[in-house]
């Protein structure tokens, strides 16, 4: 975290100075490890087994926060008799369809789910209750198994388990932070699910100082999933309709009228349609629901790349991204780019994605010839965050406004400017059209006021549209104000209230010392300015704080309402002893101790009866390419539901004892460095950052260096079935900077590959751009559609990679680049 999120890490250091214990679990020794109290090196891709070991430790030593678990989780729920756990099915759960590689989730349901009151056993003794199922499921994740899978010694494991459990419970809470080291796996869902189970068992959810914080690659990636740039979601996590969703009612049939706040989905979707199509959206035309595009299948990034290569995708917008450098199997990405008719790239600098046709690695090797590439590339310079107004949404769902400080230089413009004016021009062109398919564009509300010398649309006007309006045209206070009759509008229901009272709440900057420690007047958090979700769980069943030290939100009997330091995440006047009347729906169907209000049963799900494609509980699978056999479920080497990207350019390695499994015997992982930002469009061209991290290098342990004859600061070539990389002398030293630690994990040596280095073109140096991610396959993704790019297999050679067209070798080995050139 210090490595990739140094600014956020200041709060970790502050916690440390107040006595917090910092535990860092990472294959690599980094800046974070150096300041952490405990560093636990782990084999890349095995986090689920480590977390599973911790769950097993909690359950077998009864270290769970029992009152919390009984009150707020589904531990007491009893499962159907025909559910079969992965323990008894060699790593699969009941309901697996091998043909379709998917699960039928019928057997995962609670027993008696159709009865008025589903069966529960609050003593947690029933053999089919979730708690007992969990105990049996995680029993195989012993400290010895953790050592076998992850390479973590039992002593080190015990130290972490003791530190975590002794700092969790009534008086104390612990937080978990993760980044793309968890999500970029075919088993990312398993890792994060196990973390959620662990935190829930320890009572670390919905309470101050607890939770699981996702730190991600970019500023405001949280914002770009809330108001998504994802193909399968509409704003506010509403699913994108599929071809079968012929009407709004049909689309929402799974949610409307059910228990929990998703029961009001129709309010949210109708308000969204009103925000987009205004007066054109009426009850008679199903609020223009038919205008929305429909999904016909998987349209994720990697499927799109394959479609480009197949010639099915003609045009491509690349905005704030550099797939030629930053995406897995960059070579395949470039093949896709080369097969387009047109490509629009918007970035701060002329990035590799815009220039692949003239100086990409394939041009250098002769695999592609510029004259044969028909892609028409439009490069449009973009404004930086200081040159435009807007909001950032951070990991805590906190929106913070940034004002425009200066006008962007030259032709650079904000993304808002680009899309607004593009839309305006397209609409002008179609204004006279009578073609029905142009109606969605013609009917759009596209009337944002523009300001400044470049006619930049007002970002605050867009925020106001997102925040929502009531029937009188006044900003709504919260999403509970939304209606499904078309009288309200909101661009994203979870953001309702961000412009309450006509004030840009996200622009508030009242200093912390002038307000309570929760600081509710700094920025604005969705939903309803709530800083901690599910905070009803910070009080016990009766509504009293679990402890004075951790008091956060509680029931005030005198006033008959919930109160506390934060905005209660509960209906304000719902008594803790409320029991829903028969036949109630939406939130009215949740009881006074159902703290997890977005769940149908109001409970935190230790066991997920629905919603997860990979299984109701996490199970350990090896990464798609791994040098070892799966020790936990030998019959199930890989995630059985992973998406497989089949293409000749995306060859996969055999794993473990499979034939050929020893060809690529080393685990390799890619990583970032503090000095550069993601694919480098914002940093690799800057001399002050590039001089700090100038060259492409790998880190290996002394053992591997010895085994392969690698020398410190010598050349190395990393080989996979997809590609081979190893920069030339123009890059400066291509170093095998020996890892500072002897590797203690069992199995094979790890290779850590920094994806960051200077862009020597911009820094006045020669440029070579083989990037680490050429190496990575799209080796199949988990059902969360994430790429598996963090753990893979490779071979390593001490030679320098031969570059370009065949010719004489000029510098067979050069150890150092001269200090100045």
């Amino acid at each position: 975290m210090a490595e990739a999120h140094p600014v956020g890490f200041q709060w970790v250091m502050e916690a440390k100075s107040r006595g917090a214990t910092i535990i860092h679990v990472d294959p690599r020794f980094t800046r974070t490890s150096a300041v952490a109290d405990i560093h636990v090196p782990i084999r890349a891709g095995t986090d689920m087994a480590f977390l599973g070991g911790l769950v097993n430790y909690v359950l077998s030593n009864e270290k769970d926060f029992r009152e919390y678990v009984v009150a707020f989780t589904n531990a007491a729920a009893i499962l159907r008799a025909d559910f079969v756990d992965s323990d008894d099915l060699d790593g699969l759960f009941s309901g697996f369809d091998a043909e379709a590689r998917s699960y039928d989730t019928t057997t995962w349901q609670y027993a008696g789910v159709d009865e008025p009151v589903p069966q529960r056993d609050e003593s947690l003794q029933h053999p089919r209750c979730v708690y007992q199922v969990l105990r049996r499921h995680f029993a195989r994740y012993t400290p010895e198994m953790v050592q076998r899978v992850c390479g973590i010694t039992p002593a080190s494991f015990a130290q972490v388990a003791e530190a975590l459990t002794s700092n969790s419970g009534r008086e104390r809470t612990s937080a978990l932070c993760y980044a793309v080291g968890w999500t970029h796996h075919s088993t990312g869902a398993q890792m994060i699910r196990t973390a959620a189970i662990l935190q829930t068992l320890l009572g670390n959810v919905g309470r101050p100082g607890g939770g699981i914080l996702a730190l991600r690659g970019h500023a405001s990636i949280q914002g770009s999933t809330d108001i998504p740039t994802l193909y399968n979601l509409l704003p506010g996590y509403i699913p994108m309709p599929r071809v079968e969703s012929t009407s709004l009612d049909k689309h929402l049939a799974g949610d409307v009228g059910k228990t929990g706040f998703w029961g009001n989905s129709r309010d949210y979707v109708v308000s969204l349609m009103k925000a987009w199509w205004g007066d054109a959206a009426t009850a008679d035309n199903d609020f223009c629901f038919g205008y929305l595009p429909r999904l016909t299948g998987n349209h994720g990034t990697y499927q799109t790349v394959l479609a480009q290569i197949a010639g099915d995708v003609k045009g491509y917008f690349v905005v704030g991204e550099n797939p030629s450098v930053g995406s897995a199997n960059a070579r395949l990405q470039r093949q896709g780019l080369a097969n387009l008719e047109w490509l629009v790239v918007r970035d701060l600098q002329m990035i590799e994605t815009a220039t692949f046709w003239k100086d990409g690695p394939e041009i250098e090797t002769g695999e592609m010839v510029t004259a044969d590439i028909g892609t028409e590339v439009f490069f449009l310079p973009a404004a930086a965050h200081t040159e435009k107004a807007g909001s950032f949404t951070n990991t805590q769902r906190l929106l913070q406004w940034h004002h425009k400080a200066v006008e962007p230089p030259g032709d650079a413009r904000s993304d808002l400017w680009f899309y607004y004016h593009l839309g305006r021009i397209v609409r002008d062109r179609l204004a006279a059209s009578t073609d029905a398919r142009d109606r969605p564009l013609q009917d759009l509300t596209w009337d944002y006021p523009v300001e400044g010398e470049s006619d930049d649309p007002s970002a605050e006007a867009v925020l106001a549209e997102i925040g929502g309006f009531d029937a009188t045209g006044a900003p709504v206070k919260a999403y509970t104000d939304l209606k499904d009759d078309g009288s309200t509008s909101a661009g994203c229901w979870i953001y309702c209230g961000v412009t309450a009272d006509g004030v840009n709440q996200s622009a508030r900057r009242k200093p912390g010392r002038e307000q309570s420690w929760v600081a509710p007047e700094w920025g604005w958090a969705w939903p309803a300015n709530r800083r901690t979700l599910y905070n009803r769980a910070s009080a016990d069943r009766d509504g009293k704080p679990w402890s004075a030290r951790k008091a956060y939100v509680w029931w005030d009997e005198g006033k008959g309402e919930w109160t506390g330091h934060d905005v209660p995440d509960f209906e304000k006047d719902k008594r803790p002893d409320y029991t829903p009347p028969p036949g109630a729906s939406a939130q009215a169907a949740l009881a006074g101790d159902d703290a997890f209000i977005m769940q149908g049963d109001g409970k935190a799900w230790l066991f997920a009866p629905s919603g997860l494609a990979d299984g109701p509980l996490p199970a350990y699978y090896e990464p798609p390419e791994s040098p070892v056999d799966n020790p936990v479920h030998p019959a199930q080497q890989r995630n059985p539901l992973r998406e497989i990207v089949r293409h000749p350019g995306n060859t996969m390695h055999p794993s473990g004892s499979e034939p050929g499994g020893d060809v690529f015997p080393y685990v390799f992982s890619t990583h970032r460095l503090t000095e550069h930002h993601t694919a480098g469009g914002m940093s690799r061209t800057l001399p002050y950052l590039s001089e700090l991290q100038p060259a492409f290098f790998i880190e290996v342990g002394p053992g591997l260096a010895e085994e392969r004859g690698l020398e410190h600061l010598g050349w190395a070539t990393v080989v996979t079935a997809r590609s081979a990389i190893g920069p030339g002398p123009g890059d400066g030293a291509d170093a095998t900077a020996a890892s500072r630690r002897p590797h203690r994990a069992p199995g094979r040596h790890p290779v850590a590959l920094g994806t960051h280095r200077a862009d020597h073109r911009r820094c006045g140096q020669r440029d070579r751009r083989h990037r680490a991610r050429s190496q990575r396959a799209h080796p199949g993704q988990g059902r969360q559609l994430r790429r598996a790019a963090r753990a893979s297999a490779a071979g390593t050679r001490p030679a320098r990679l031969r570059r370009g067209l065949p010719g004489p070798r000029r510098h067979p080995r050069r150890r150092h680049r001269p200090a100045s050139q």
């Binding site: 140094p6 001399p687 260096a705 100045s820």
Partner: protein, 309 residues
């Protein structure tokens, strides 16, 4: 006069001739919270428009800067330090007993190569942001023949770029090896403690950019009190190796305007354990030189006297 070259000195700016002046300011760099992000290095270069000085991979952990110099006025060092392996909190690491003093210098073999798993040792990093110390008794200033190096009203030491003639006397005079000649230019450059920002009431760029408050800027007296409290709290928290460096007005340079909290011996960080202002003995040297020249003159005179018949 002896007091102006060494020993404690309460009013540095007053001693330099400022009748009325603001209080002395400086840096307290608390290396125990440094995360090695190098924001200070970048902010310093950005504000002071210092040239980029080479895209060179050093192979020394993640430090590709190397050392302070004419083009690096803040330098975040990554000190590779051997520590016991295993489940022990690094902050609780007892110092390793070795027969020789580890100077923290790079060895002839890559770090880690000499270590095998059975030896049960790990290597960790000590990260610290080094800078010009703005000494109470600054030898660079004392030896400067042109007056390019001056003491400011804030008690800091600044090179006036337009006065420096590049003679280089200051370079060997600095007990810390901070001040450095820029080869392409010939003049010397070093940290100004952002003199141009101080005049406008702004915090120096490095301290402003530091995310963890490892670099703290302020009135020196207040920083010294804060540092004492920080050391006490670290000792209480079980970090007995925490110590201050350069804070003592009684040390060989009369105390530093930029002082540090270290987690090991100063020499491990490449800092002199007992720095002495190199001009300390200047009066004695002149005295000796005077005596010697008088003696010489007397001898010469005696020769002539002796030849008289």
């Amino acid at each position: 006069m002896s007091n102006r070259l060494s020993g404690p000195l309460a009013d540095v700016a007053g001693d330099a001739g400022y009748a009325a002046h603001p209080s002395r300011v400086g840096f307290f760099t608390d290396t125990s919270v440094c995360i090695g992000c190098k924001a200070c290095e970048v902010a310093c270069k950005e504000w002071n428009a210092i040239p980029e000085d080479g895209l060179t991979l050093t192979g020394m952990s993640y430090d590709n800067t190397g050392a302070l110099g004419s083009d690096t006025w803040r330098h975040v060092a990554f000190i590779e330090k051997v520590a016991p392996a295993g489940p022990v909190a690094p902050s609780a690491h007892p110092p390793i007993e070795t027969s020789t003093v580890d100077l923290g210098m790079p060895g002839s073999r890559p770090p880690g190569r000499d270590l095998d798993a059975a030896a049960a040792v790990d290597v960790t990093w000590l990260m610290s942001s080094d800078v010009c110390k703005h000494c109470t008794h600054a030898a660079c200033l004392d030896v400067c023949p042109t007056g390019a190096l001056v003491r400011t009203e804030f008690g800091t030491v600044v090179v006036q770029e337009d006065v420096c003639n590049g003679c280089g006397y200051c370079v060997p005079a600095c007990p810390y090896g901070v001040i450095d000649k820029r080869p392409s230019d010939g003049r010397v450059f070093k940290c100004t403690l952002c003199y141009d920002r101080l005049g406008s009431g702004l915090t120096p760029a490095c301290a402003k950019a530091c995310p963890t408050e490892s670099i703290q800027f302020g009135d020196l007296d207040e920083l010294r009190a804060r540092a004492d409290a920080r050391v006490a709290s670290l000792h209480e928290a079980g970090v007995p190796q925490a110590r201050l460096y350069g804070h003592d007005p009684a040390d060989g340079v009369g105390g530093d305007g930029a002082f540090f909290l270290l987690l090991d011996e100063p020499q491990v960080y490449g800092l002199p354990p007992d720095p002495v202002v190199t001009t300390k003995d200047l009066p004695a040297m002149w005295r000796h030189a005077g005596v010697a020249s008088l003696g010489l003159a007397a001898g010469v005179a005696a020769c002539f006297l002796g030849r008289r018949p």
